[in-house]
């Protein structure tokens, strides 16, 4: 069901009125009044939506029903009723509160206007026989309200732009230099390279891209999920099947089929290099969208961003609601500094030792261009490889056919990796997943076995 148009609720809006009302005497029993309430309600819902509140599709219906129960006289009760039906997250309360004032004012003033209009003719039959649209009884009120009500009720595409403080730059593997944002006051200097606020929007991934990421998550899965299947060495008896097979032996359960859990879940620790060099080579919004999907797809995923130091971003991704960029901006996480991978691993080891265990798959997204101490990096990667179940490195530079892990950082970490893949767009992950599915991790998988490269890869896609 789509968002009902302004006319719909007036057409089927008998519902709120015909229910046994506790506040029936308070709701003015006019078509126009009802129409006014519903239109204001829809307009209010639309405004909430356009300001980014996630109002359920059926929210306005529920809200209308709840108003029928609560009546329209007590501001607090109306507010609470709408809060319960239209909101589903605490974060939305501020928007709600600021928008409610206007709604309440319009609702009450409109109602008293309608009431005044009708005071005279109620004795007659004026308002009962005006079946639809051009309601002669309220010439001044309705048409204007209707016109106003329709525009803001879309998906908030216009509202989305307002929120963005810094213009988006899309950068691709071609390595465009970052454009100056001119936002100097937001910048801060670090040891190497200067950082800036998170300046990307979250990319809207297409179906195939999401599938590619999900496939990658599935291919890496190591943790037993809740689904079970027939298994020779399972740990539980399949009671239903045992019962059926016992029929052949007169009810004596001789054959006991087992079931075992399917490894369908991923426990993952994602380390994303957000140094300037990586951000220049990979589309930022795709990077964030990838992290978001991975976080959502895995049963448990911790996300860390690092350049010269390491920040845990798991809470932001948990609250992201599909838009991690906004969540990170809000948390004032910055990115785009220099790279000290060794230091970042060291911080992980000291501050978040429980982010990984032997079943955790560690996914590092980094170009390996390290400017820190090589010994620190060697120590860090040794600990990481020993501690994690699997260590997968995604290098944005490795999508190029000429790539060799020769840089100081890459040559240090390369021996410890279970797999090293190129990653510039989700399609690369589908290729990685294909290799892992076919050959398993630790065997002949990696950027050098990318079928697309040997087949002459022109435009970056197949």
């Amino acid at each position: 069901m789509g968002m009902p148009g302004p006319e719909d609720p007036t057409a089927d809006g008998g519902e709120p009125r015909t229910e046994p009302l506790d506040g029936a005497d308070e709701v003015p029993d006019f078509r126009a009044a009802r129409r006014h309430v519903l239109i204001e309600l829809l307009r209010f819902t639309a405004q909430l939506r356009s300001e980014g509140v996630d109002v359920p599709t059926s929210g306005s219906l529920d809200a209308a029903r709840s108003l029928a129960v609560m009546g329209l006289n007590d501001r607090r009760r109306v507010e609470d009723a709408l809060r319960a039906t239209l909101l589903s997250a605490t974060a939305d309360e501020t928007v709600f509160e600021s928008a409610f004032d206007t709604f309440w004012h319009r609702l009450r003033s409109g109602l008293s206007a309608v009431g005044a209009d009708h005071d005279g003719p109620t004795a007659g039959d004026a308002d009962e026989d005006s079946p639809d649209g051009p309601d002669t009884a309220t010439p001044a009120d309705d048409p204007g309200v209707l016109e106003d009500a329709s525009p803001p009720e879309l998906d908030g595409s216009d509202g989305g732009d307002v929120d963005v403080r810094i213009p988006t730059e899309r950068r691709h593997v071609t390595g465009d230099r970052p454009a100056e944002t001119g936002d100097d006051d937001a910048r801060r200097f670090s040891a190497v390279g200067s950082r800036q606020r998170i300046d990307a929007e979250t990319a809207q991934l297409g179906r195939t891209e999401i599938d590619a990421i999900n496939r990658f998550v599935d291919a890496l899965s190591t943790v037993p999920g809740r689904r079970r299947r027939r298994s020779e060495t399972g740990d539980r008896i399949a009671a239903r099947r045992a019962l059926r097979s016992s029929l052949a032996t007169g009810g004596a359960p001789i054959e006991l089929p087992d079931t075992g859990p399917v490894p369908s879940e991923l426990r993952c620790c994602l380390l994303v290099d957000v140094s300037g060099s990586v951000l220049d080579t990979i589309d930022r919004s795709v990077l964030l969208a990838f992290a978001e999907r991975l976080h959502a797809g895995a049963r448990r995923a911790s996300v860390f961003l690092f350049d010269t130091d390491l920040v845990e971003a798991t809470p932001q991704f948990e609250r992201a609601n599909g838009d991690p960029a906004a969540a990170l901006r809000e948390a004032e996480v910055e990115w785009g500094g220099g790279t000290q991978i060794g230091t970042a691993f060291e911080t992980l080891r000291r501050q978040h030792p429980h982010a990984l265990d032997r079943r955790t798959v560690v996914v590092v997204v980094s170009d390996g261009l390290d400017v820190g101490d090589p010994d620190t990096l060697a120590d860090g990667i040794t600990w990481l490889a020993g501690r994690a179940g699997t260590l997968v490195w995604l290098n944005p530079l490795a999508v190029s056919p000429e790539f060799e892990p020769r840089s100081r950082g890459m040559s240090t970490v390369e021996p410890y990796l279970d797999a090293l893949f190129g990653f510039a767009e989700p399609a690369d992950l589908a290729e990685a997943a294909r290799q892992i599915e076919q050959r398993g991790l630790g065997r002949r998988v990696g950027y050098e076995f990318d079928a697309r490269l040997s087949g002459g890869r022109a435009g970056g896609t197949e």
Binding site: D62, R76, A84, R226, S246
Partner: protein, 318 residues
């Protein structure tokens, strides 16, 4: 009280019942609960730990004198734990004794003669909380409390959808079980992860916040009657002041009650006297549960707390 009676419950009636059950609720809670009852919708309660979410479910059950069916969620919770399971041992014995067959057909009504003798009958069904909530007899529908839904995995959440929207569940061998009297459903969540839109759409939403000083004082006075009233006010004032600090784990109502009980216990048999800084410091473990938070307590903060305590009298409304 039947479901119809629930549908016509008024705000004042609800307030009285909460009052009788010693539950101090703010206006928003009362309105939202009233809506959930009148519209027959599940109620999703979110809020920090210790803010009385679970208590709300319990109080609803006791206030309406009905059964409370509680399902605690956890990761890996399966339909067998939550909904139903077949009594396999009994089934096996029935088959061995040649009393039953496994021929079962959900298309035929469970008690139809074609299904007579099947081991997939009602007597072989073990009811778990969700099924019990649907089949519970009695005049008043039970209160189903699905606690900490955010701890169960998303698959389980999806599985709840049929139950929450239609108050029915489908069992493959048996058929569809629907509730004669839909239960009153309360779901609680600590927001450790986001819930799916599909679930949220089906529920009314209530966010519980830490109570105001006045409400909290009321709660402590009722739940810890052994504590002197003036000291109870001081206790609440201290907690209220503590909540202004940026602690990792803010003390909830549950902690306040713990602390009030602790203070009452330590002073058993003594005469009422104001809280001292020393007393506050020694018992802070009841309120703050993180080492970092306890480290932040210094002399200055303690003195501030004591000052808040001594000003408590004036804050109580006559």
């Amino acid at each position: 009280m039947t479901r119809q009676a629930f549908a016509s419950v008024t705000e004042s009636d609800l307030e009285e019942r909460f009052e009788a059950a010693e539950y101090v609720a703010d206006d928003r809670t009362v309105t939202t609960v009233q809506l959930a009852l009148t519209l027959g919708r599940p109620l999703l309660v979110e809020g920090p730990p210790g803010s009385g979410k679970t208590e709300l479910g319990k109080v609803l059950a006791s206030a309406f004198e009905t059964e409370l069916i509680r399902l605690q969620c956890y990761e890996g919770l399966t339909a067998e734990n939550a909904l139903y399971e077949w009594n396999y041992t009994k089934q096996l014995l029935a088959v061995q004794a040649d009393e039953g067959t496994v021929a079962g057909d959900a298309a035929v009504a469970p008690n139809d003669s074609a299904n007579r003798g099947s081991v997939f009958g009602e007597e072989f069904l073990l009811e778990r909380p969700l099924l019990r909530a649907l089949t519970a007899g009695g005049d008043t529908p039970p209160v189903l409390l699905v606690d900490e839904i955010d701890r169960a995995d998303e698959e389980f959440e999806a599985f709840l959808l049929e139950l929450l929207s239609d108050f029915q569940v489908s069992i493959p061998e048996y058929g569809t079980v629907s509730a004669e009297q839909p239960p009153v459903v309360v779901l609680t969540s600590n927001r450790t992860r986001g819930l799916s839109d599909a679930l949220k759409r089906r529920c009314l939403y209530l966010h519980v916040e830490p109570p105001s000083f006045q409400n909290e004082f009321e709660i402590v006075r009722r739940k810890v009657p052994e504590l002197d009233v003036a000291v109870a006010a001081e206790v609440c004032a201290v907690v209220d002041r503590l909540r202004e600090e940026a602690f990792l784990k803010q003390p909830g109502v549950a902690e306040t009650l713990d602390w009030a009980r602790a203070v009452a216990q330590l002073r058993r048999g003594e005469e009422a006297r104001p809280l001292s800084t020393d007393e506050i410091e020694r018992t802070l473990g009841c309120l703050l549960k993180e080492a970092e938070d306890l480290d932040r307590i210094d002399t200055e903060l303690l003195e501030n707390l004591q000052a808040a305590a001594s000003a408590a009298d004036e804050r109580i409304e006559a």
